[in-house]
């Protein structure tokens, strides 16, 4: 482990983060609000600290990065960025404690969208912009962005990429990792532009359109309004946002193929079919469940159920309705959606459809070999055999996911948080969703959670965003052994 190297890269990332604050600064200047001074201070701190780290820990960057170092760089990089990203909130007095500022920042970067802000609309616009913008940065991945922009990460980029975007079946769009990263960001930016356009056409203010795009595309969920999307109460905006949430939770390599002219890309990908099918079936189930109970018109029932199902399964976490008033079955479906999550290679969180799908296929294979003990059968996806070691790592992942969920829920419940709140808050944090049930429901927020609980949730959000292994590996003593 070359610690100098890890600190060096962390320095670069922090410096870089300071640069991205320029946009929020400009926003603050435009609205002439109280966010200007805190942003100037934060930029100075970030760039100063970043430069200092870079200069103190100079290191030959052309060397090969080992898998272990890749994980360490990504994990430390994310923690550092979360810490420094919290500076504007803290210095600007948006929150009284650093814990709250950090919670908001980590919730932003990990695209969770769980907020501890009680009155969002009273906060100066510069901070609101930053709050949305960090979700956009975190969505496609800070490390991926760095790989695309910083030339020196090219050589070891693959290790970093794998640590930030762990995918059960890795796909490189281009031979070089840098080109792959560039394409992903270009596609991401392009779709974001489209969403801003659609929202503006519908008459949303540019500031709101930008902020909501910045939190839809990464499936983040921060809103600039206290009532989230319900504030606008417009079927058009609901439809636009549903569409882009679905887009954001589909593997971005499929978008790339579509843009290249492969129109059947979505249909050929079995994970995408599974995801779209799940969204459709669950929407109908929830729709008919709430029809006659909460909503008297079938159209209304389907509109709200579609929005809520997509919002949760894509792990965005916007709200147009208080789903806690919905019948129990709908609530349970939404809770389970938090676990299912979006597709691999998308900006969404959760367990990811492909893992759940492969897990079911594996279970079927086990049953099949009980009936035919001599049969030779493989788990296949899209006609290709999934290797045994890939399958093992997926099962390991699911086991860890559930295990960590259980442990964190017990810890949170130990802090006098009620059952439903503890359960859903942890599920929501690990899945990077945002709202949960009970005290952290769609119309409430996380301000009520005790401080210890907030730290647990911060940890859960990081676990979820980096897909567990990259973060949990630091708890394994073997990792530290020389």
């Amino acid at each position: 482990m070359r610690w100098r190297f890890i600190f060096n890269i962390a320095g670069v990332l922090i410096f870089f983060l300071g640069l991205t604050m320029t946009f929020s600064l400009l926003c603050g200047l435009y609205y002439k609000d109280a966010s200007v001074a805190p942003f100037l201070q934060s930029m100075a701190i970030c760039m100063g600290a970043g430069l200092l780290l870079c200069l103190l820990f100079r290191e030959d960057r052309s060397k090969h990065i080992s898998q272990r170092e890749g994980m360490a760089i990504v994990a430390f990089g994310w923690i550092a960025i979360g810490l420094f990203g919290a500076l504007p909130f803290y210095l600007g007095g948006v929150f009284n404690t650093f814990t709250d500022a950090l919670f908001e920042s980590i919730s932003g970067f990990t695209t969770t969208g769980a907020s501890v802000l009680v009155d969002i609309e009273s906060v100066p616009k510069g901070f609101l912009f930053w709050r949305s913008f960090i979700q956009w940065l975190g969505g496609m991945g800070i490390i991926v962005l760095s790989i695309a922009i910083l030339p020196f990460l090219g050589v070891g980029g693959m290790q970093l990429y794998k640590a930030e975007v762990p995918s059960p079946v890795p796909d490189k769009l281009k031979p070089r990792i840098r080109d792959t990263a560039k394409i992903l960001w270009k596609v991401y930016a392009l779709i974001s532009v489209a969403q801003v356009a659609f929202l503006s056409i519908g008459g949303m203010e540019l500031f709101d359109a930008l902020c909501h795009t910045f939190t839809t595309m990464p499936t983040g969920g921060f809103s600039t309004r206290n009532a989230s999307i319900a504030h606008f109460n417009s079927p058009y905006f609901d439809a636009v946002i549903i569409f882009f949430m679905v887009v954001a939770s589909i593997n971005f390599s499929l978008h790339f193929q579509l843009l290249k002219g492969n129109t059947l890309a979505f249909w050929r990908d079995s994970e995408c079919r599974f995801f779209l099918g799940a969204v459709l079936v669950l929407t109908l189930l929830v729709g008919f469940n709430v029809y006659g109970h909460t909503y008297q018109k079938i159209g209304e029932a389907l509109r709200f159920s579609a929005f809520q199902v997509v919002s949760i399964v894509s792990t965005t976490g916007y709200a147009t309705a208080d789903y806690e008033k919905w019948p129990a079955m709908s609530q349970v479906i939404l809770l389970l959606c938090m676990f299912l999550g979006a597709s691999a290679g998308s900006t969404g969180g959760g367990m990811k459809c492909i893992r759940v799908m492969l897990c079911f296929k594996y279970c079927y294979k086990e049953l099949f070999s009980l009936v035919h003990p001599h049969a030779v059968s493989h788990v296949k996806i899209g006609g290709r055999v999934v290797h045994e070691d890939v399958m093992r790592s997926i099962l390991g992942f699911l086991a860890l996911y559930i295990g960590l969920f259980a442990v964190c829920t017990v810890l949170l419940a130990g802090m006098n948080v009620d059952l439903i709140t503890a359960l859903s808050a942890v599920a929501s944090a690990i899945g990077n969703v945002g709202p949960g049930f009970g005290l952290v429901g769609p119309v409430e927020n996380y301000a009520m959670i005790p401080y210890g609980g907030k730290w647990i949730l911060i940890w859960c959000m990081l676990l979820g965003r980096l897909e567990i292994y990259t973060v949990i590996i630091f708890l394994v003593p073997e990792f530290w052994r020389r």
Binding site: Q67, G154, V155, M158, P170, P175, R176, I177, D179
Partner: protein, 454 residues
């Protein structure tokens, strides 16, 4: 620039590594996921699991946009078929194939003219025999590289304790050895590449790289207390394909050759093919056999069996008995750094030879050849000086050469010149430049030559 490599073995791995380092788009195809994992872990290249000779896989790899296809699996048939399929799918792609079977030796030209239109066939065995031949021509040299069709030689020599030059400052060398100047380009000391300056001292144990005109080689070598004495008696241990090739080459040069081979059947075959060579049936590591055959009288022992350990041991044995030169064939790349530690200096490897040849062949355009030294820390490039380039038309001492780069040779009208500070490069001269990996990019700029392939 896209390059498709079929075969993720040692050769494929190292070529992919080199090319990806130079920011080329590399796609590697192999049917072995383990081998691919090694590549995707440490090389920035795309990997595809499947058979390289399958049209579907080649299409998936993007053969149509690829400029070069390298078929370097260890199966000749796979390589040939891959080239054939690629020729159908994408006729413009330049194809290089590794083909080892001697039966194809006569067909290298034919393959170029007719389908599968393989531009260059590389036979690692032929390349390794060439390397052995070069090493034999300069006894005591660790590395011998030819430039300008052999008119210039770039030689690496290990400095011994009692050599005249050890402990000498570079600037004192002309005084010490008189008239002839040998331009020392680099020194490898404890696996570290150093570009020595005037006041640096050479030390015993250094591996010194210098350039010399071919016709003045013996004078230059005498400064290093080495003599050019072509070997007269050579013992080859191991009668495999390389052994056989080498033996017939040596026989043609009328060098007295003995060849030791374990398998009686193989011995019979070699004896059938050879006229003057003495074929011995026995184990190369058998000391009594070696003594019986007067191993101590040999000028060189070349160990070419398929067993690395046997090769190493026989070479060490020969060295102890007092054979002046021993050349050892090693396949495992991980052994290379250990060799000088146990006193084995002259090492050849078919794979390494193949890698160097392939890289040389795909670097084209104004770059005539490029050779990498020890662990790819530096390159030696042979290029044509363009009239537009900064180095042309003024004394070299006024040219702002980047740190880590050195002009070590000029070839003008077939005449090799070792430059001094007052030398002037004319347009269209062929120049030889030594550059560390970091300096290569800056050299590109100075030469206004893109070090592109083609």
């Amino acid at each position: 620039m896209k390059i498709v490599i079929i075969g993720a073995g040692e050769v494929g791995f190292h070529i992919a590594h080199r090319l990806a380092h130079e920011n080329k788009d590399v796609v590697v195809i192999d049917s072995n996921p383990e081998a691919l994992r090694r590549i995707s872990d440490s090389v920035d290249a795309q990997v595809i699991n499947g058979s390289g000779s399958s049209p579907m896989i080649l299409e998936e790899a993007g053969i149509k946009e690829a400029e070069i296809l390298l078929a370097v699996t260890n199966q000749d048939e796979t390589n040939l078929i891959a080239c054939l399929v690629a020729d159908i799918l994408s006729p413009v792609t330049k194809k290089l194939a590794r083909i080892r079977n001697a039966a194809f030796d006569q067909y290298h030209e034919i393959f170029r003219e007719h389908p599968p239109h393989i531009d260059t066939v590389i036979n690692p065995e032929i390349e390794v025999v060439k390397t052995i031949e070069r090493l034999l021509s300069v006894p005591g040299a660790v590395d011998v590289i030819d430039f300008a069709d052999g008119r210039m030689k770039f030689i690496g020599i290990r400095l011994e304790k009692n050599d005249r030059l050890s402990g000498i400052q570079l600037s004192e060398i002309p005084v010490k050895i008189g008239r002839q100047r040998a331009l020392i380009a680099a020194v490898i000391r404890e696996e570290e590449l150093i570009i020595p300056r005037g006041k640096d001292r050479l030390q015993a144990g250094d591996l010194v790289y210098f350039i010399s005109e071919a016709d003045r080689l013996s004078q230059t070598l005498s400064a290093f207390d080495k003599t050019v004495k072509p070997p007269k008696r050579v013992l080859i241990v191991g009668g495999g394909r390389i052994g056989l090739r080498l033996a017939s080459l040596l026989e043609n040069k009328s060098i007295y050759t003995k060849i030791v081979e374990k398998s009686p059947a193989r011995c019979a075959l070699i004896a059938e093919r050879m006229n003057k060579t003495v074929v011995l049936c026995g184990d190369g590591s058998d000391q009594s056999l070696m003594q019986e055959e007067n191993i101590q009288e040999m000028d060189a022992v070349i160990t070419l069996t398929n067993d690395e350990e046997t090769n190493i041991l026989v070479s060490l044995l020969a060295k102890r008995i007092g054979v002046p030169q021993s050349i050892t064939k090693i396949n495992k790349f991980s052994y290379f750094p250990l060799m000088s530690a146990i006193g084995i200096e002259q090492v050849v490897s078919p794979r390494l030879s193949a890698i160097n040849t392939i890289l040389q062949h795909i670097r084209r355009g104004k770059v005539l050849s490029a050779i990498s030294l020890k662990g790819e820390q530096a390159e030696v490039l042979e290029v044509i000086a363009l009239a537009t380039s900064d180095i042309v038309g003024k004394p070299l001492k006024n040219v702002g050469f980047p740190k880590g780069a050195l002009l070590i040779g000029i070839i003008r009208d077939g005449q090799a010149i070792i430059p001094s500070g007052d030398s002037i490069v004319n347009p269209d001269d062929r120049i030889i430049i030594f550059a560390t990996r970091q300096a290569v990019v800056k050299i590109e700029k100075i030469l206004t030559v893109k070090l592109e392939f083609f």
